[in-house]
């Protein structure tokens, strides 16, 4: 095995690299936000955000995702102090909340599509589905990551490398939370105005 100092240097590189990846992902979201901002009014005679968005429903989604970020933080706190059972428990809770969020989002999407307001309806809806869907895709990838993490943590009894990965996962999850706050504000609050 490498010595401790070398291991720490490797982890530092990974953390910086992951932060930079997150920032590039943010630029990707920024492009989609800009497109949404430009195309928001292009409803092509179809419904606007004001007609479509169900605000209490979206608020519920938001609260679920914010809570999952909180529980992910609790899991990290637990793992830092070596409380294995707590860590696993909070990771399960995070997974459940993330899955619930994704289910709600898909429910919203399928509802829109069944009403005839799918992504093909107008430029506004294309940009809406793509922006929110890209965030949803990230959540789905995060859930897959989380599932693999939970299995490994249980099986390999909290190896240091897995704990390092857990820290990066938490970064990812909080990042998605931040992006969602912008989606909530720009797409649903501003985009839902009459």
């Amino acid at each position: 095995m490498k010595n401790v100092i070398e291991e720490a240097a490797v982890q530092q590189k990974k953390t910086l690299g992951f932060w930079i990846y997150l920032m590039t992902d943010l630029v990707l979201f920024a492009s989609l936000f800009a497109t949404f901002a430009v195309l928001r009014g292009q409803t092509f005679g179809g419904p606007s955000g004001h007609d479509l968005f169900n605000m209490p429903f979206v608020l519920l989604e938001t609260m679920i995702l914010l809570t999952s970020s909180f529980t992910a933080g609790l899991a990290i706190l637990g793992s830092n102090r070596g409380y294995k059972k707590q860590t696993i428990f909070w990771l399960f809770v995070t997974f459940a909340l993330g899955a619930a969020f994704l289910t709600l989002e898909l429910t919203e999407f399928s509802h829109l599509v069944s009403e005839g307001d799918g992504w093909q309806r107008s430029a506004f809806l294309s940009s809406f589905f793509t922006l929110v869907g890209t965030h949803g895709l990230h959540i789905a990838i995060g859930l897959l990551w989380l599932a693999v993490m939970i299995i490994r943590l249980i099986r390999f009894k909290f190896k240091q490398t897995d704990l390092n990965r857990l820290a990066l996962f938490a970064l990812f999850w909080h990042f998605l939370d931040v992006v969602w706050i912008f989606i909530f504000s720009i797409v649903y609050l501003i985009g839902g105005m009459a």
Partner: protein, 658 residues
């Protein structure tokens, strides 16, 4: 029933997609033939294992760099063949019936896309891989496996962009595929999909590679090497990768949206449904303009290294060079609209972007003067790298001035989409990026092979290139003034353009002679390699790559050097400290080979083919393949192996360094 199964398996692929006109079929057959020959050769000489172990699965950045360069050289020849066809068509005024309009459009689209994405980008990443670790005193890049994935994604994109020679057709929408022409309504075939997915896959590779080298430079410098003590090439790489990180996600998003329009009937950029084609043009240039600087900044870095090494002086104005690099990098995000002043954004917006464009000429001018002052009172050796530098200074300044001319919005209304523009950006990219690559190739070639390139043939190549280059592009400036627009497959003889087009054609023919001499130079130098053997430092270099053996060992540095000043190696040589090496060796950790990088590339290729030809089962295979392979890699812990201090000592002894 049978038809349903065939549709399911092959999507929209039909036997007739394999039928091409003679020129394309010839190119396709040549490619397949070369591939078959290579396979037969590898089998006959029993080299498959060697290829797999030493190259394909290697995580050594030097090997990956060589593979990048190899792919780029092959693609350069492909792009050059395209250019020859375009020039022949225009020199004969289209009346000879050499190419159909459709084929002509495919060729100019392919020429541009290939030259930017698979030649220029490939060269840049090849040089990064080869040079950066050894210049900063590191043994490896920050993420060796990611590096391999990046390369194989690049290779997958390269295969996709060449596949239309054999099956299907390429995009006819130009190298940036402006909608609504590139939308399903006007381009229903597979051409634009080929374009999207080859760029998307290679672009994601570029993005990952950019992150990789950014972290490498920030985290892996030798002890004592502060940012302002880095070699200037590393600075240029840092700014270039910084730009990659900000620009390439925009490309990913934009290509993604265009693809969603085409695949799922969305309305981002369509002419109907409320779509906004100009949104695409803004987004693609918000990536595209920084992209130009992503390519040219490393070339500036190469020239800075070359000019100081061959003038025997330290680089003039190091600090101002760094500031200029940073200024160019930041300003490059504030000028994108100058690509479409004619869009109608209004006088105020056009003025802003026009002025920003003019301002960018200032840091670039600073660099040109610094290079000239570096030569001033130096003991200049006119070896081939220096010749390329001199050629660059002349052509780049000419092209740069043409650029300033076009940055004036009212003038640009005249130049827009004319051959003046085509001449301008070729002067910048050929005269800047490509000449930089050639200079770097001649300069660093002995470092990675242990022998120099033949100087005489190199000079022949240079003079053919520079003469051919001026003959090929100066007429285009004039034609632009005369009103010739770009992408013409025929024109009326009464325009009086043909003479100049013929001159341009002759120019490209002379460039081909130059390329012939370059290939000859390479072959001859390899053949006569024992006559040109050199030690570790043939040019009396300044930075750390010249302190290690040629070719360098896999671990680069047996002992990581310590830095106290700029050009540490040069200063130590001046003080005659003798060997930099201390005899105390330590264990070195190197990444194990991994076959998962090429496997990810293969699955990405499958994904690309699937989405282009609508083979949905293959799409799932490709996607699941990539995800599963990634999980396997990311959950494996023992990815490095130890080389003990004793083994390192043995290696070093064998190389006769100690």
């Amino acid at each position: 029933m049978l038809q349903n199964i065939l549709d399911f398996v092959f999507g929209r692929l039909k036997p007739s997609d394999f039928v091409h006109d003679p020129i394309m079929a010839g190119a396709g057959f040549a490619m397949v033939g070369a591939l078959i020959l290579a396979i037969i050769g590898l089998t006959y000489f029993k080299k498959w294992g060697w290829l797999w172990r030493n190259w394909i699965t290697s995580l050594d950045p030097k090997k990956i760099g060589v593979m990048y360069i190899l792919v780029s050289v092959i693609m350069l020849l492909r792009g050059l063949a395209d250019a020859l066809l375009l020039r022949a068509q225009q020199a004969t005024d289209g009346s000879a019936g050499l190419l159909t309009s459709d084929h002509f459009q495919q060729i100019f689209s392919a020429h541009g896309s290939i030259m930017i994405f698979f030649v220029a980008m490939g060269i840049i990443f090849g040089v990064f891989n080869l040079i950066i670790p050894s210049q900063i005193g590191a043994r490896d890049v920050a993420f060796p496996f990611l590096n391999s994935v990046s390369f194989w994604l690049f290779a997958a994109g390269m295969i996709l962009i060449n596949a239309p020679l054999i099956v299907g057709e390429f995009s006819t929408a130009g190298w940036l595929a402006y909608p609504p022409l590139s939308e399903l309504q006007y381009s229903p075939g597979v051409g634009v999909d080929y374009w999207i997915w080859s760029l998307q896959i290679a672009g994601i590779g570029s993005l990952l590679s950019g992150i990789n080298f950014f972290v490498t430079i920030l985290k892996m410098r030798a002890p004592g090497m502060t940012l302002m003590k880095m070699p200037i090439f590393v600075w240029s790489a840092l700014t270039s990768t910084g730009l990659i990180m900000f620009a390439f996600p925009i490309l990913t998003a934009t290509l993604g949206m265009l693809s969603l329009d085409r695949l799922m009937g969305m309305h981002f950029f369509t002419a109907t449904g409320g779509g906004n084609p100009m949104m695409y043009v803004n987004l693609i240039w918000a990536w595209g303009h920084p992209e130009v600087y992503i390519l040219v900044l490393p070339a500036f870095g190469i020239f800075s290294e070359v000019v100081s090494a061959f003038s025997g002086k330290k680089l003039f104005g190091y600090t101002s060079m760094v500031v200029a690099l940073l200024a160019i990098a930041i300003l490059s995000f504030t000028v994108w609209l100058h690509h479409f002043f004619t869009m109608g954004a209004g006088a105020d917006v056009n003025t802003f972007f026009g002025i920003m464009t003019m301002i960018i000429a200032i840091p670039t001018g600073v660099k040109v003067f610094n290079w000239i002052f570096t030569m001033y009172r130096g003991r200049v050796r006119f070896a081939t790298p220096m010749l390329w530098f001199m050629g660059f200074i002349v052509t780049f300044t000419l092209g740069g001035l043409a650029g300033v001319l076009m940055s004036v919005p009212p003038a640009d209304f005249q130049f827009h989409n004319s051959l003046f523009l085509v001449a301008h950006f070729h002067t910048m990219i050929v005269g800047g990026v490509l000449f930089g690559a050639f200079a770097g190739f001649a300069y660093w070639f002995p470092k990675f092979t242990g022998f120099t390139l033949n100087e005489r043939l190199g000079r022949y190549a240079f003079w053919n290139w520079i003469v051919g280059f001026l003959l090929a592009f100066v007429p285009l400036y004039i034609l632009g003034f005369m009103g010739a627009t770009r992408r013409l497959d025929h024109y009326d003889p009464s325009m009086g353009w043909q003479g100049l087009f013929v001159v341009a054609g002759i120019g490209v023919a002379i460039i081909c002679v130059g390329v012939f001499f370059q290939l000859l130079q390479l072959g001859y130098s390899i053949w006569k390699r024992n006559d040109n053997r050199v030690g570790s430092d043939p040019w009396n270099g300044r930075s750390f790559e010249w302190s290690i053996a040629s070719p360098p060992p896999e671990y680069n540095f047996a002992v990581i050097p310590t830095v106290t000043q700029r050009d540490e190696f040069w200063e130590l040589k001046k003080k005659k400290h003798g060997s930099l090496l201390k005899s105390h060796y330590e264990d070195i950790w190197l990444p194990k080979n991994s076959g998962l990088g090429p496997i990810i590339g293969a699955f990405a290729l499958a994904f690309g083919i699937a989405v282009i030809w609508h083979m949905w089962w293959l799409l799932i295979v490709g996607l699941v393949g990539v995800v599963v392979t990634l999980i396997i890699r990311l959950t494996s812990d023992e990815t490095e192996e130890k080389m003990t201090a004793a083994e390192v000592a043995k290696h070093e002894l064998k190389r006769g360094i100690v």
